[in-house]
Symmetry: C2
Subunit: 222 residues, 2 copies
């Protein structure tokens, strides 16, 4: 029941075909997300997606029904990636502060890639009400998990006391906005941006009192 088959089986051909279809569908979604992010949703046509993949337009219809379905999937995948990153950080060791830092770092890396960027730059707005509703529910779950991490940190004292809901919105906003201006061809790597913006948000812009007074109390004769 588990493990890869040792001998290649002719019956696995249907499985291979499904895997191949999934890989190709993923390529269609990625190419479309890149175009949406670059030219906007309304200015992107399926013909442009086909051209980028060097296939004919009818070929695309084997993988997706229409442009709306593509956007729905891109945004859903973006949300899914963010949610699993936050869940993974929450399940890792350390204080809630460590977990929040890890979640914020991953958040930036995701919004600088195709699907996460599409979630930020296009989002669910161009879709039909029912699709919008589904995606907004996923978004609300994401907000909830982010906020829970902040509440946990405040409760255990690893984070400063604050309004967890507004703090979560402020942090998520700062990190999301990176998906709006980040240029993968630009001078800064996603990693650098992630490190720096996480530090700014954790430490704040106000100078922190230096730790200098602390050692002084220990070495009384120095």
């Amino acid at each position: 029941m588990a493990g890869a088959p040792i001998v290649a089986s002719p019956w696995s051909r249907s499985l291979d075909r499904e895997q191949e279809r999934a890989i190709k569908r993923d390529a269609v979604l990625r190419a479309a997300a890149q175009l949406f992010n670059e030219f906007g949703y309304h200015a992107t046509s399926l013909a442009m997606v086909a051209k980028r993949l060097q296939v004919t337009k009818p070929t695309l219809y084997y993988y997706v029904q229409n442009k709306e379905e593509i956007l729905f999937e891109c945004v859903r995948l973006g949300l899914e990636l963010l949610r699993s990153a936050i869940a993974a950080a929450a399940a890792s060791g350390g204080t809630a502060l460590d977990k929040l830092k890890a979640a914020m770092h991953e958040y930036v890396l995701i919004v600088t890639r195709e699907f996460g960027m599409c979630l930020i730059r296009v989002g669910e707005d161009p879709l039909a009400p029912e699709s919008r509703k589904k995606l907004r529910r996923l978004k609300a779950e994401l907000d909830h998990e982010f906020r829970a991490l902040i509440e946990q940190g405040i409760a255990e004292g690893s984070l400063a006391p604050c309004d967890a809901k507004l703090a979560a919105f402020t942090l998520a906003g700062a990190l999301s906005w990176i998906g709006r201006w980040f240029d993968p061809q630009g001078p800064l790597s996603a990693e650098e941006v992630a490190r720096h913006s996480t530090a700014v948000l954790m430490n704040g812009l106000s100078p922190r009192p230096t730790a200098a007074p602390l050692p002084r109390r220990r070495k009384s004769n120095a």
Copy 2:
């Protein structure tokens, strides 16, 4: 040459008419911005704008040429408002930290109102390349002024040392994002959101060491 005329002059009628036109044009832009923010740019028609103002569609053409011109003006006004708020804060008294706080507070108030919200929710993307270029130049100036305030604060020591460019992007992102989710009919006032998010960004999420060690060094015999 200066001052308001004391006697109402019949020659001032043309001035009145111009003022009246400016007021009505402003109403057209505001109504359109509200609709763009609510339904999106592409889903908003001039007929909807006319309906909201209870005028006919041809009446609108006396004030604006087309939907593109309306969006251009809304985004330009949003940027203009932000720029003058930052300039006013920069020209006020106090440290760069005080100025930055004031600028951030005003920034939030602006992105929660029609034009600022339209800048954030729609932006220049749907416009023709030349219009986009003009608006992006304004945006770049805005970024520059925001960053200059941070650089000044780092230089004078009222702000913590950091990469001013990335810090400016992170702050502006956090504040801009508020325009995406803020609901004027919601439970929080723009004022509350402004106060809280400014505090979170200035103080950071990490707890700050209490000031307790500092007095200790002063009163050596207490």
